[in-house]
């Protein structure tokens, strides 16, 4: 990783700590600054309220030319998070062909929060959950809350 990239990550971390979106905590290890651990509370106005989620943000060597990789370490029932042990997310600016270098981590964090409040069913990684979200919202909410109880307490 170039010094420029390290400098930028450092700068972004400082920016994040100065202006951390509410309900979020970042664990940063200077020895391994390319992997951030993020603790995220389910936003109050969302069905994930009360849940505590652990996420990992990994910066590729080419950062900021390539997007950071975000994954949920805590299982979550969500159309935009893969329902496997990876818990990966791939939409919007996180997609390699959509990512632009001036995008920032803060913007990514806000995107994640916004998605917890309102999932994007049209750009889903889990089609069945997306379908349920669209067709049977009650069932979806029940499942999501159930998972919060089971995995995110």
């Amino acid at each position: 990783m170039s010094t420029g990239a390290k400098k930028r990550i450092m700068r972004e971390y400082n920016e994040c700590t100065a202006d951390t979106p509410a309900g979020m905590k970042i664990n940063f290890d200077e020895q391994n600054m390319t992997e951030w651990e993020i603790l995220l509370d389910g936003p109050d106005q969302s069905i994930y309220a009360g849940g505590h989620f652990k996420l990992k943000m990994t910066f590729p060597t080419e950062y900021p030319f390539k997007p950071p990789v975000v994954s949920f370490k805590t299982k979550i029932y969500h159309p935009n998070v893969s329902n496997d042990d990876k818990g990966s997310m791939c939409l919007g600016m996180l997609r390699a062909d959509e990512w632009k270098p001036p995008n920032k981590v803060v913007a990514v964090l806000r995107l994640i929060q916004a998605l917890l409040i309102e999932p994007n069913a049209d750009d889903a990684i889990e089609p069945s959950i997306a379908n349920e979200y669209k067709e049977n919202r009650k069932e979806f909410e029940k499942n999501a809350k159930d998972w919060v109880k089971r995995y995110a307490k």
Binding site: E12, E62, F65, K100, P101, P102
Partner: protein, 494 residues
Amino acid sequence: MTDLATEDEREEELSTLQSIYPELSIISTSPLVADIDIAVAPVKPLPIVFGSEPVRYRLSYLPSLRLRITLPAVYPARKPPELALTTTPSWIPNHILRALEDVGRSLWEEYGGMPILFTYISHLQEATETAFGLADSTNTQSLQLPDDWKATLLEFDTTERREKFDQETFDCGICLEPKKGAVCYRMERCEHVFCKVCLQDFYSNAIIEGDVNSIKCLDPGCGKTGDATADRRKNARLLSARELLQIPLGWDMVKRLAEMKRKKKIEADKSIVNCPRKWCQGFARSEKYPKITDATLLENDPNSEPEEGSEHPAPDADAPAKSEDKIGKRPGGASTDRLAICEDCNLAFCCVCLASWHGDFVYCGPRKEAELSEEDQASLNFILKHTSPCPTCSVPSQKIHGCNHMTCYQCKTHFCYLCSSWLDPGNPYQHFNNKKKKGCYQRLWDLEEGDGGGDDVRFGGARGAVAEAEFWEQEALRIQMEEIQVHDNGGGNT
């Protein structure tokens, strides 16, 4: 005493002015003359048309207005200052300059013989904001200027803009550091600014990875309007090679990118063939996409990426006309155009049969028989059976009637229809009287009624002879095989 006082007053006014405007220069003290250049940068760019060109330029910086002040001995009490305004080139219409000079006089009258130079200069500076009314919002007309001044004025605008830009400070969105304009680059189309190092890193990286489509402005919102289809179109607007060189990206990188783009286009174009030499496989008939050899080629390419929907821009439209031309110039004007020349190894080959070039008049078909249509196969068979090739130019000729001494209609070579050998034009018939030429001896008049192609005629020129020989060889083999079989069977019975 009074004289001294007046002089002091004039000099004092000038020195005060000089401390406000350091660019003011005093040319002479007797008479008292001073020059000052007033920069012209209208708030709204000034629309200008040069000569009869239909293009309207909008310039933000124009050559400065020079004010020459001559102060008479009795200024300010009894005489107004002498004011002369000029520009080089004289882009401001004369009547405007004269009117501006008159303002000075009326100011002096208004102030009743008080020093007025500072007020006057401030007035001029204020007037530059609208380019002296030329760039007024109510004035929709463009300023008409002679063509000769175009270069000077455009260059002035660019240099000033550059200097202004260099002094500004920008936050580079990539390294997130504040950078001086001098180490930044402003995108031509959208005017987004990034630092040069970041742009160089990003684009070089993309070129090395072959990611042609990300060579565009890096601003996340750039080219996004919310309308998905329009966005896709705008997104396709990649930076031109010329702009990349300006950032600047190294020539090697830009060349590599241009070559990738060229290859992509060529691969999508079915009219382009690859060189049949296995070790080469270069492109042939790729004139439409000039090889990238030097920077001038890129400079001439205003936007290397054609707009969507016009996949085949102008060069394609006139391409057929060009190739027709070429065919017309070929001897005989044959309508086939099979000659292809590899751009890399210069091999001349036939793009149909992929053999090295055999001339226009040889009938050939695709290497694979499957690619040959039934009709083509039939005519190929006919040609093989009922024509003789000219020994010089290979054009197939069919004898309609007469003797077997032929003259090629194409290259006038004399040859024998039976064996295709060259005949001496001075004594062509000798060939048919030569006992050594077994196939042709005494056969000048064979097939006098012509090589009609009816099934009854088994002989057909040199190629026919070859075909016949093959037939008899097969026949001999068949008979031989039969005999062996008969023999075997006989043996088995006893």
